[in-house]
């Protein structure tokens, strides 16, 4: 792990918008009922503990870490399913690209099956698909990876709940306050409006913020389609006026 030097910033992180973000207790998503804190969160401005973060250098990455079609496949073989490129930028709330952000992503295979001991869906495992990858954003905050489009899958919640096709994302920015896990959905998936986990999002705008459009400009003809997914992390307050006297 190496340290990527960036310009020091000050002013602390803009508070998380808890009206916009999902609530902790969302009964239609049943697991939240016993796993949601009931006391109010305790609010404090960020301190150095939240304004700093581990930084991951490109040296941790292997050549195929951002290629889920090949990174678990036997030599000469590849994962089965619709080949896609997922790309976008990691930005902060001020609209600036976030360089050096570590993205980790994981997903089911084309049939909707995860490679996991606890997975009980009968869809077949793909021997050439592991289901995870990672990358680090470039100077302008951009990233891309190649994968197969995951399938929707059933899950135990209601009697017949299905997750829309999705890719899970874990993101590290420049401060631990920005730590985020979210999911990317695919434009046009009819399961989006039926899913209790999507349903915790409070507005159509919030659902749209997690729904990646088909991006024909980035497709590779006769090879892969592309979806564009931008991710926004908390921004830092800019402090231009620091020449106040103490106590004013």
């Amino acid at each position: 792990m190496s340290i990527l030097n960036g310009p020091p910033k000050s002013g602390g992180f803009i508070p998380r918008d808890r009206v916009w973000q999902p609530d902790a207790l969302t009964p239609p998503y049943k697991t939240s009922v016993k796993r949601s804190p009931q006391a109010a969160l305790l609010s404090f401005p960020t301190t150095l503990s939240e304004e700093t973060s581990p930084v991951f250098g490109h040296s941790i990455l292997g050549d195929l870490d951002n290629d889920l079609i090949l990174n678990y496949a036997k030599s000469g073989e590849s994962a089965i399913g619709p080949r896609i490129i997922v790309h976008g930028r990691v930005l902060d709330e001020n609209g600036r690209g976030v360089p050096g952000a570590l993205l980790e992503f994981w997903q089911a295979n084309a049939g909707g099956r995860y490679r996991h001991k606890k997975e009980s869906y009968q869809a077949a495992l793909d021997p050439n698909f592991g289901g995870c990858g990672r990358t680090i954003t470039a100077e302008d905050g951009s990233y891309e990876f190649r994968t197969i489009q995951p399938g929707p899958y059933p899950w135990p919640n209601g009697m017949n709940d299905w997750r829309p096709a999705h890719i899970h994302f874990s993101i590290f920015g420049h401060g631990f306050a920005q730590r985020l896990i979210t999911q990317m959905y695919f434009e046009g998936d009819p399961h989006i409006k039926l899913c209790p986990i999507v349903g915790i999002l409070k507005t159509q705008e919030a659902i749209d913020a997690l729904t990646a459009p088909l991006d024909m400009n980035r497709t590779v003809p006769m090879d892969s389609r592309a979806f564009k997914f931008d991710i926004v992390l908390r921004g830092q307050r800019q402090t231009y006026f620091e020449n106040r006297k103490e106590g004013l």
Binding site: T26, K34, T47, E51, T52, R115, H168
Partner: protein, 204 residues
């Protein structure tokens, strides 16, 4: 009409789901895809300061341990310096990573961190905070990752003077933030998502 404030909204959070370990600790799930799982070791060589072990379990509102959680911690070195690009006060211990990630035990859910006791770090107003570790918990059923802090039971004076701990209205909840020293010298920090001992979670 006024001009538009063209800030962006933070991406909405979604649960890490039951398979967070596939993405974040794939080797732990048997997908030997990278050299090793990130966050497994917080030390790359001999470190300065007091080396400590922290163990704990995350419990749901029924008292059942979570076996599909992932816990991350982030902290300064023994001198109070962060191994971070944003650390401007000096260079941290080069052998200390400061960040750890634990998938919890496959059967019991117990997480474990092999780290050092953190040094004190100033609050924005310059007062010193008590030694603490930032902890972040995600799991199926948790819609937005939960931030809490691990303080140390055996730092009563520093805790009493801590700018955050001293401002907490419900002082009877402070023990939920204290790692307790065990007979074997390790610390224990259990997390209760709900119930009479619900851990204090922060909106930082």
């Amino acid at each position: 009409m006024v001009q538009k404030l063209d800030y962006l909204h933070e991406s909405p959070s979604q649960t890490a789901g039951p398979y967070v370990h596939i993405g974040c600790t794939p080797n732990f799930t048997g997908i030997g895809i990278y050299g090793g799982d990130l966050g497994t070791s917080m030390k790359t060589g001999p470190v300065k300061g007091l080396e400590i072990i922290i163990r704990g379990t995350v419990f749901d509102g029924t008292g059942t341990p979570l076996r599909d959680a992932m816990v991350e911690i982030w902290q300064p070195d023994a001198a109070g310096l962060f191994p971070s690009a944003n650390e401007t006060r000096g260079a941290a211990d080069p052998n200390f990573v400061g960040w750890g990630r634990s998938p919890g035990d496959m059967n019991t859910g117990e997480f474990i961190f092999d780290t050092v006791k953190p040094g004190a770090v100033p609050f924005p107003d310059g007062r010193m905070q008590a030694p603490h570790i930032t902890a972040w918990i995600v799991a199926r059923g948790i819609n937005t990752g939960l931030h809490t802090r691990i303080y140390f039971e055996d730092e009563p004076e520093a805790n009493a003077a801590d700018p955050i701990l001293s401002r907490i209205e419900h002082q009877n909840r402070i023990p939920t933030l204290l790692a307790s020293k065990q007979p074997d010298g390790s610390y224990r920090f259990d997390v209760h998502l709900q119930g009479p001992n619900e851990t204090i979670f922060f909106d930082m």
